[in-house]
């Protein structure tokens, strides 16, 4: 990789220009959906538009102040996606319902938390101190929905929610971040041991169990708990996160092979053992059979209705506010991609997916550019998690893969998802700030260790060893 040696440029004005464009997209969409819903320019519209604009500009101001070298494209992309999501949720709100404003509340909370992360953390490397705390936190977060009293019980077949006063929250969304922090911290500290100490069996180098133990423990906890929570989508997501981070840490393709083999094997066993997994797969393969379509649980009604909606949208879409996305169950959450596909058409949906592509690409660039292994692993893991989550959701909606219950980042209605993804954005912005800014010559945090100085030669050395 060619390190940029010229003077770093903050590019905050570029960000401001893009941000105004993003607000125009989000607010324009919100205006358009209202025109045919006879709620154009209602109080919700002004309330949502002005608050979103103010929050985005405040966020921008904080970046100018605290992370002025942060990637200028990330925030506008996220604001545009979040604005589109707000518009579609507002559009789908039946009279008297408040999902749109609830989503706005959560957007503001999530942006505030992301701002707090940027403001107080100052340097992402500090997070490495919390490696094992993150592991513990992940375990707690994942177990919470199973604890009576806190648990919101089984909602739509999954036990992933907890009750916080009047609201429900999905701690697994946050666990995604804490697990990434743990993996990044543990792998950046121990990857030499994992790589070098161990036995070689055939073409595959196996690490010592004691070096891999915490990883396996983390993995088992997440997968195990999720099995009990019947949350297939999160299982896939955590597993993917685990594989990609261990691959990036070791550069060994064998890990990916083993990981995918485990995933497919585990998936097969799960489909045989757990009825809900089997039903999902059946609903995917046989979506267009009478029996599966009409089945009350695990049937294909939802996905088939979503496909009808997207087909109805076709190339150019029905136009915002003019389709019937409300015919699809969970049109504003799990199926919001189908809703956007119906009203924006293939062209609009491609634009949305391209925004995600640009977003995770910017995350990977931050991973490439930052100089510490922890930051690289964290940025790469979080970016890949965003990409994988999009793949699982959109692939599920388009019947590319079985439909699993994951939220579409920033678009879908749901507070925990917004909070988690905005925190991810905050972390990526900070990592990109260090990646793009002048080389930091301040002493590293005490626990950072020596291996993460400068460039990533150790990996290369190991490779040729």
């Amino acid at each position: 990789m060619s390190q940029v040696s010229s003077m770093p440029k903050p590019r905050r004005n570029v960000e401001l220009a893009l941000l105004l464009l993003a607000l125009a997209v989000g607010i324009g969409a919100n205006m358009l959906v209202g025109v045919d819903q006879e709620k154009a320019f209602d109080s919700d519209f002004w309330f949502q538009s002005s608050l979103l604009a103010v929050a985005a500009l405040v966020f921008h101001g904080v970046l100018r102040f605290r992370a002025k070298y942060a990637d200028p494209v990330i925030l506008p992309l996220v604001v545009a996606l979040n604005g589109l999501g707000l518009a579609m949720i507002h559009r789908l709100d039946p009279p008297g319902s408040d999902t749109g404003n609830n989503q706005l509340r959560w957007t503001l909370i999530a942006m505030a938390v992301a701002i707090a992360v940027i403001w107080f953390l100052k340097d992402h490397r500090v997070l490495r101190r919390f490696t094992f705390i993150s592991l513990a936190a992940s375990a707690v977060l994942l177990v919470l929905p199973l604890i009576p009293g806190i648990s919101a019980g089984e909602i739509l077949g999954a036990r992933v929610w907890i009750r916080l006063g009047p609201m429900t929250f999905q701690p697994g969304e946050i666990a995604k971040i804490t697990l990434a922090i743990f993996f990044a911290g543990y792998l950046s500290s121990n990857r030499d041991l994992i790589l070098l100490a161990g036995r070689k069996i055939g073409p595959l180098q196996f690490p010592r169990f004691k070096d891999l133990g915490p990883m396996v423990a983390a993995w088992l906890v997440s997968i195990g708990v999720l099995v009990f929570q019947s949350d297939l989508g999160s299982s896939v997501l955590f597993f993917g996160l685990f594989i990609v981070m261990i691959y990036v840490a070791t550069s060994r393709i064998s890990w990916v092979v083993i990981g995918l083999a485990l995933l497919l094997g585990g998936g097969f066993i799960a489909s045989q053992v757990f009825s809900h997994v089997g039903l999902r797969i059946d609903g995917w393969l046989n979506a267009f059979t009478d029996e599966v379509y009409g089945r009350q649980y695990g049937g294909s009604f939802q996905i088939v209705e979503g496909l009808f909606g997207m087909a109805n949208g076709g190339l150019v879409g029905t136009g915002l506010g003019q389709g019937r996305p409300d015919l699809v169950p969970f049109a504003n959450s799990d199926m919001i991609i189908a809703s956007l596909g119906e009203e924006l058409g293939l062209i609009g949906l491609f634009a949305v997916v391209l925004m995600y592509l640009l977003l995770f690409t910017r995350g990977f660039r931050a991973a490439l550019g930052t100089r510490d292994a922890f930051g690289k692993l964290l940025a790469c893991g979080l970016s890949f998690a965003v990409a994988l989550q999009c793949f699982v959701v959109i692939g599920g909606v388009t019947r590319l893969i079985p439909l699993t219950g994951l939220t579409t980042p920033f678009l879908a209605a749901g507070g925990s998802s917004l909070l988690a993804n905005w925190i991810i954005v905050g972390l990526l912005l900070m990592i990109s700030h260090t990646a793009r800014g002048p080389v930091d010559t301040t002493p590293l945090p005490p626990s950072a260790g020596a291996e993460s100085v400068g460039i990533d030669t150790p990996t290369e050395a190991v490779k040729h060893a």
Binding site: S251, A311, G345, F360, A373, C390
Partner: protein, 486 residues
Amino acid sequence: MNQAIRHSWVAAIAMFALIFGAISYVQVIGADALKDNPWNKRAILQTYCNDRGSIIVGGTPVAESVESNSETCKFQRTYPQPELYAGLTGYFSQNYGATGLEQSMGAELAGNSDQLFLDRVGQLFLGNQPKGASVELTIDPQIQQLAYNLIPDGQRGSIVVTNPKTGAILAMASKPSYNPNLVATQDPKAESANINELVKVPGVNLNQNVSGPTGELLAPGSVFKLVDTAAALASGKYNKDSVLPNPAEMPFDGIQYKLPNYAGGNCYTRDTASFAFALQQSCNTPFASIALDLGRDAIAAQAKKFGFGEDVGDLLKLGHATGNGFPDNLDKPGLAQSAIGQKDVRVTPLQVNMMTNAIANGGVQMAPSLVKTLRSPDLRVIDEPQPAQLRTSTTPEISKQITEWMTSVVTDGIAKGAAVPGVQVAGKTGTAELGNGTNNSWFTGFAPADNPKVSVTIVMEGVDIYAGAKLTSPNAKKIFEAVLNK
């Protein structure tokens, strides 16, 4: 490590390539198959829930889409005077499709017709919800109400009122009727429960795109004698001075059956009859002898010229049945019976009215019309069908002669009940035996005889002779008066 990051990025890009492919497949390549999927209610629902145009009678909607507060649909189709207009409007149902004008004018009402192309382009750019055209009918609401009320509840019957010079339909009513609102509800359970109740009502044309006056095939009885009369005059063998044989019974070689004149009437009083007398009293044997004299083909040709057995097509924009005209392969008794509108002759009330109109209009039969104007959502007239000649049924001379005789039917004959003081009314009654002791009782006629403004055809089904007589001619009189006094 950077190389692995790049590889991870490539993996993510590969996943997104799959997503792009999947979206393209669903939204473009496989889209048509998905749209055609029988489970896909979206297309019909979209039509169903749109702001559909109104069907308007006398400036008032009789079918309209009003804003709905339901979650599935923004608009609800309603029928403010449901039973009165059910035969014309039909219904527009989410699950049972559409009938009547709702079906035949469906493209216009939904805003999909060619005339509305420019409006649709406008909607595309303005982003408005599609709005359909409104259909204004030729129906006169007062006459329609009167006609409907003249059919007693529980009585099966139809009344057609038209303008013979234009073919415009002023009223078209039938009973039993039904409430289309029951079939257009958005509650699928209520809808299917209602429709299951409605199909049990005899005579309700629920699942067909027809109403009684255009869809019901009935034996015309004696009104068919007008066909014989026209055929006789057209043949040149008969004229206004012809004397017709009028035996009390007409025997046939080799069988016991004898065609009788009606036992209770005046026909028995004489063995021969003038045309006027034969029509006045509706004697059977004179017309049977004309048919036997002229032969089956001459009668069939004249019936065809009056439109019997001819396809009314979509002239009316309403579903219709096509009668069989005059049957083939008739033996002599069959020909005689058919000539008096019995046996297998089947016509619709509208066709009898069209025959009457041809006589009233100097032999020229006008195409019946029900649609007066088609208006775009901004009330601009986008189509206004003009009166059109359908066919020439007979000559002006013959029609004038028949009119003269039909006038004497009302003044001196058995249709006296239809007489309107101060106005010359031309009419003809008919009674078709159903074989169970009841009859279909007909009246068809027009007024004023010398300058017809209105023609009325009434049929009451399954009545005895006296009830039929009370329900036909006197009711015709009321309608004549109502129209002429307007």
